[in-house]
């Protein structure tokens, strides 16, 4: 365990998730880690998932089109549409889920991301606010995250159960 700040709160009244995390690195490096695809892909997906950026045009009106890849090779595509960029200070994007051809899946929730960056004594603080249209969307995402995290286990279980039933 390290002693870097990590706050995680969910506010139902505003359908928002607030995440604050400190990093033991200077601001320009942390900014790069959130905005350069070659660095993003090395950490954006929680293991055992991996992140794969297909295209990224980092400018206002631009988009990152990427996939979360499951250990079995299954890909879940998504986009980040950049709506505001203040270098090394603030970054906003709208996140949506898509298919592999970049068509937005309107059945899955979009969310508005607002990230603030600040440096103090060589440490960089990133505050992330993720706003959803409804709270049910957050619950849905939590369930999805939960599901994906355990996909391997579930697939294995499913296999076992199928064998038992047949």
């Amino acid at each position: 365990m390290n002693n870097l700040q990590f706050d995680f709160t969910v506010d139902k009244s505003t359908n928002s998730v607030f995440i604050t995390r400190e990093f033991d690195a200077e601001l320009p490096l942390v900014w790069d880690a959130f905005t350069k695809p070659e660095i993003l892909d090395q950490w954006w997906a929680p293991k055992p998932l991996t992140s794969k950026t297909k295209t990224m045009d980092f400018k206002v009106g631009g988009r990152r089109f990427y996939a979360m890849v499951l250990p079995d090779g299954q890909e879940h595509w998504g986009i980040q549409d950049f709506t505001s960029i203040s270098p090394k200070t603030n970054l906003k994007w709208v996140a949506s889920f898509t298919d592999k051809d970049e068509n937005i899946n309107t059945e899955l929730p979009s969310s508005n991301w607002d990230l603030n960056f600040s440096e103090q004594a060589g440490k960089t603080k990133v505050s992330i606010a993720i706003k959803h249209k409804t709270f049910a969307n957050i619950e849905m995402l939590i369930q999805m995250g939960f599901k994906e995290g355990f996909t391997m286990t579930l697939n294995f279980l499913e296999e076992l159960l199928t064998k038992k039933i047949n």
């Binding site: 390290n2 990590f6 506010d11 880690a33 090395q42 950490w43 619950e139 995402l141």
Partner: protein
């Protein structure tokens, strides 16, 4: 009106009440002493928390004590912990990456 656990934790005062009750069962007056709001406001929060079944009342002598429903708290924990864990994993990965990049630069 339907109440659920997320409504219970949506308000900062209610979250603070939950933290207080995590330490010990308390009377409404003792709880209210910790806040700058009116006793009525605290009573209202306690009523919502009770309706969300996150706290329960117990009569001890002439006083009513509020205490946490631990099982309900676990339900919230389970939900949020999954979400938090995902982020924690991601950030730990970023920590390692940042330290690697820093070393390369030196």
């Amino acid at each position: 009106m339907r109440r659920d656990i997320f409504q219970a934790i949506a308000d900062p005062t209610r979250r603070a009440i939950i933290v207080l009750l995590a330490l010990q069962a308390m009377t409404p007056n003792a709880i209210a002493d910790n806040f700058n709001t009116t006793r009525q406001a605290v009573s209202k929060h306690l009523r919502i928390l009770t309706e969300c079944e996150i706290v329960k009342q117990e009569q001890k002598g002439r006083e009513i004590f509020y205490s946490l429903e631990i099982d309900k708290m676990k339900e919230i924990d389970m939900w949020l912990e999954q979400f938090r864990k995902v982020w924690e994993t991601q950030f730990n990965q970023l920590d390692n990456l940042l330290s690697t990049i820093k070393k390369q630069k030196k």
